[in-house]
């Protein structure tokens, strides 16, 4: 260690990179499997998300309350708010759904199963992440049953609230090789969901935590070798004297440069952690339109959802998806994500959810949103701005980690109470009644619809 100091510069971060090389593009890998990642709030504790700046603004004059008063024959209270709604073709007990956790280690097995089971009890839809099948298996064979896609579906379906909810199976570009949707659609274990109209397939175009990149997980070398035919694998061990002089590792190098040679050497080392990278897939308006149409064509009895990243053209993409017949479009704000992502992406890439909502304006179809959802006000603001429901990701995982038996149920119970109180304060008694008039923007940046 020298005596050089640079107090006005992010010295610690530069030193960390100098010591560890490419792995410093991410959070400490020691935390992998234990921590949930995502964008950090600004220094003052307030998010840069415009959604957080909005305030919910109850009125004095409440015509909807008069309607409710007439219906009930007594003054309505917050307990009279009806939170049931339709989410992407499913009947849901609440304007909430369980977001995909992907296959990252944090979401593996126990927490994923606990969250699935409780989402079923709650009668809210559940999204199963895009690469669960490839990494954890489908679950028809005994050896891959635990933590598999089928185990999650069974956990959800076994105690599911009758007539409510549904299972949404994600697929991204590389997962098309495994035919996740085809497998589920023709599987006897999922037949009941299909028969009861509670199966959907979600085309994953992107995600909040790393817009423009595909899914990423850290794998041990053995798992990496098993999946090497299907995904880009990048060894992410630090450069050191052991690795020799060619110590640079470019994570974004895919062109067969010297870095491949370095990677090759590293891959051969048995204790190297390997970063599994999915492609984000190539989309144009026509590609997205035709993919949605083909999904409807090939799986006519399943609902079709499309998950978009917080991209600058989020409105155009959502409109294409709706017009092609998607039952729901999910937008994941840059605040979203449970999984592994480069810190540069977590902190600096993608639109905040509020800006996504502003750009989309009046949705032409069912709009679902996710990103830092855990309490009632952010959900209510999103609903007022056009969303039909909000997804719980990190909040759900933390909740089942806190109490595996009923953590998610407890969290949602609290959230639902907040929603009822906020809705009724706004003089509204159902999800569809919320609108832009219910929020106020200090910068005047929002025109009520």
């Amino acid at each position: 260690m020298s005596h050089l100091r640079a107090s006005t510069f992010p010295e610690a971060a530069v030193r960390a990179r100098a010591r560890t090389g490419a792995p410093a593009a991410f959070a400490d890998s020691e935390e992998y499997g234990r921590a949930l990642f995502g964008q950090t709030p600004a220094d003052n504790g307030r998010l840069t998300d415009w959604l957080e700046d909005l305030r919910l603004v109850p009125p004095v004059f409440v015509p909807h309350r008069l309607d409710k008063l007439i219906e009930l024959g007594r003054e309505p209270t917050f307990r009279d708010v009806d939170l049931s709604t339709t989410i992407g073709g499913f009947r849901s007990a609440l304007p909430l759904y369980l977001s995909a956790f992907g296959s990252t280690k944090v979401a593996s097995v126990d927490l994923g199963l606990a969250a699935s089971r409780q989402a079923g009890w709650l009668g809210i839809p559940m999204v199963v992440g895009e690469n669960v099948l490839r990494v954890n298996g489908f679950g028809r064979d005994e050896e891959d049953a635990e933590g598999s896609m089928l185990a999650r579906i069974r956990a959800y379906a076994d105690g599911a609230l009758d007539g409510y909810g549904g299972v949404v199976v994600q697929q991204s570009t590389e997962d098309a090789d495994a035919e996740v949707w085809n497998l589920v659609y023709s599987d006897p274990n999922a037949h009941h969901l299909l028969e009861t109209g509670r199966l959907a397939f979600e085309l994953k175009v992107g995600q909040g935590a790393k817009p423009g990149l595909g899914g990423m997980t850290l794998l041990d070398p053995v798992s990496a070798a098993r999946l090497a035919d299907s995904y880009t694998m990048v060894p992410v061990g630090a450069a050191s004297a052991v690795d020799g002089a060619a110590g640079y590792e470019l994570l974004d190098d895919g062109g067969g440069s010297a870095a491949d040679g370095v990677g090759g050497q590293r891959a051969a080392q048995p204790d190297r952690t390997v970063l599994r990278c999915c492609s984000p897939g190539t989309f144009t308006e026509e590609i997205l339109r035709q993919q949605v149409r083909l999904m409807r064509n090939n799986f006519p009895r399943a609902r079709i959802w499309v998950k978009l990243p917080p991209s600058r053209d989020v409105r155009a993409a959502a409109v294409v998806a709706w017009q092609a017949g998607a039952d729901a479009v999910t937008v994941d704000g840059a605040e979203g994500g449970t999984g592994w992502a480069p810190t540069a992406f977590l902190e600096h890439v993608g639109l905040p959810l509020g800006e996504c909502l502003r750009r989309i304006g009046a949705p032409e179809g069912c709009l679902l949103v996710s990103g830092r959802m855990w309490e009632g006000s952010r959900v209510t603001k999103s609903l007022a701005l056009g969303a039909s429901a909000a997804g719980l990701g990190r909040a759900a995982l933390i909740a089942v980690d806190a109490d595996p038996m009923c953590g998610l149920v407890n969290l949602v119970e609290c959230l639902a109470l907040e929603l009822r109180m906020l809705f009724s304060a706004l003089g509204k008694y159902c999800v569809a009644a919320l609108s832009g008039e219910d929020v106020w923007s200090p910068d005047g940046g929002f025109e009520p619809r």
Partner: protein, 336 residues
């Protein structure tokens, strides 16, 4: 001659035991007809300059175009291979060898369970697969008409007694060689179905119920052309004069029997195929061998595949397609 009942009930029956099915006089009559159909097919295509090529039944990729069906993976020396859902990729590649090729190809598709009751889906079946370099859609549609007409005429002449045993009305079949089949566009078929109160998706394949409704309106087979892009695989050629629609066709049997054949002009331009692969949700990387062939150049072509068991079912007048197969695999039903 004793007349057999090939149509025991209006509900789709299921095969009995393997021995019962194989020793049934109905099976014997049907497979006799089928055998003569295949001989006639080979004779016709050979006379028209086609070479029979024995195409692979397993490979690193297969036709992704099947509606909702699951491909079958097999472990090929540690590599994940597929059983062929159709021979389309090999058909196109084989045109670098011969200008006119065909095969009688086995296909495997793990169809969704709701196809169990359509009476016309098998998880394992065969196709008369034909491909012709430099051909237009009209040329191969005429070839389909001539082939079906020839095969029907030949089997009616060769094994008339089997039709009599099955109680098949051969007057209808005799008309199959009496000139071109009717033609209508997908757009027109959708309009007809909607007028009939059927909620047909205009962007997709004619669904099974819709196809059966159209089929029942006709007394002769007919073509449906110009399917929308989102309903088919990447290899059916998009119409440059009508973007979003394909230069393809289906042949639908009359009398409610439904689809017999699908065909098309093919995409053969590398960039167009890559873009179409993405539009159909495919990952181009897994088609490496095929794309390498395409990049170096494959002929423009058109071709088709006729379902052998479906054509047999139609010609023999059977209640269900499994009756046209010695060892039928009905989707979702465990069978030898």
């Amino acid at each position: 001659m004793t007349q057999l009942s090939a149509v025991p009930t209006r509900e789709p029956a299921t095969p009995g035991s393997t021995r019962e099915h194989l020793s049934s006089p109905v099976t014997s009559a049907v497979l006799t007809i089928q055998s003569r159909m295949l001989a006639a097919t080979r004779s016709f295509l050979s006379q028209h300059g086609f070479t029979e090529v024995l195409l692979p039944i397993l490979g690193p990729v297969t036709d992704p175009g099947a509606r909702g069906a699951k491909q079958v993976d097999i472990d090929y020396y540690g590599h994940r291979y597929k059983l062929m859902t159709s021979a389309i990729l090999y058909k196109q590649a084989s045109l670098t060898m011969f200008d006119k090729i065909y095969c009688i190809a086995p296909n495997v598709r793990l169809e969704p369970l709701d196809t169990t009751v359509t009476s016309r889906h098998l998880a394992e079946f065969h196709q008369i697969d034909v491909e012709m370099a430099g051909a237009s859609r009209d040329q191969v549609m005429r070839l389909v008409e001539d082939l079906v007409g020839y095969v029907t005429t030949k089997v009616l002449a060769d094994v008339a007694e089997e039709f009599e045993r099955l109680g098949r009305d051969i007057q209808t079949l005799a008309q199959l060689s009496a000139g071109p089949f009717g033609r209508r566009t997908h757009t027109d078929a959708v309009a007809t179905l909607r007028e009939l109160g059927h909620p047909q998706n205009p962007d997709g394949e004619i669904d099974w119920a819709g196809e059966a409704m159209l089929s029942r309106l006709e007394s002769r087979p007919f073509f449906v052309t110009d399917y929308p892009k989102g309903s088919r695989g990447f290899y059916d050629r998009e119409n440059p004069q009508r973007p979003g629609f394909l230069r393809n066709f289906d042949l639908i049997a009359a009398e409610g029997y439904g689809e017999l054949c699908s065909g098309s002009e093919r995409e053969h331009d590398y960039a167009a195929i890559i873009a179409r692969m993405r539009e159909t949700g495919e990952n181009p990387a897994k088609y490496a061998w095929y794309l390498e062939m395409v990049r170096e150049g494959i002929p423009a072509s058109a071709g088709f595949g006729i379902g052998v068991e479906r054509l047999t079912r139609y010609i023999a007048g059977l209640d269900a397609v499994w009756q046209a197969c010695a060892y039928p695999k009905i989707p979702g039903v465990v069978a030898p």
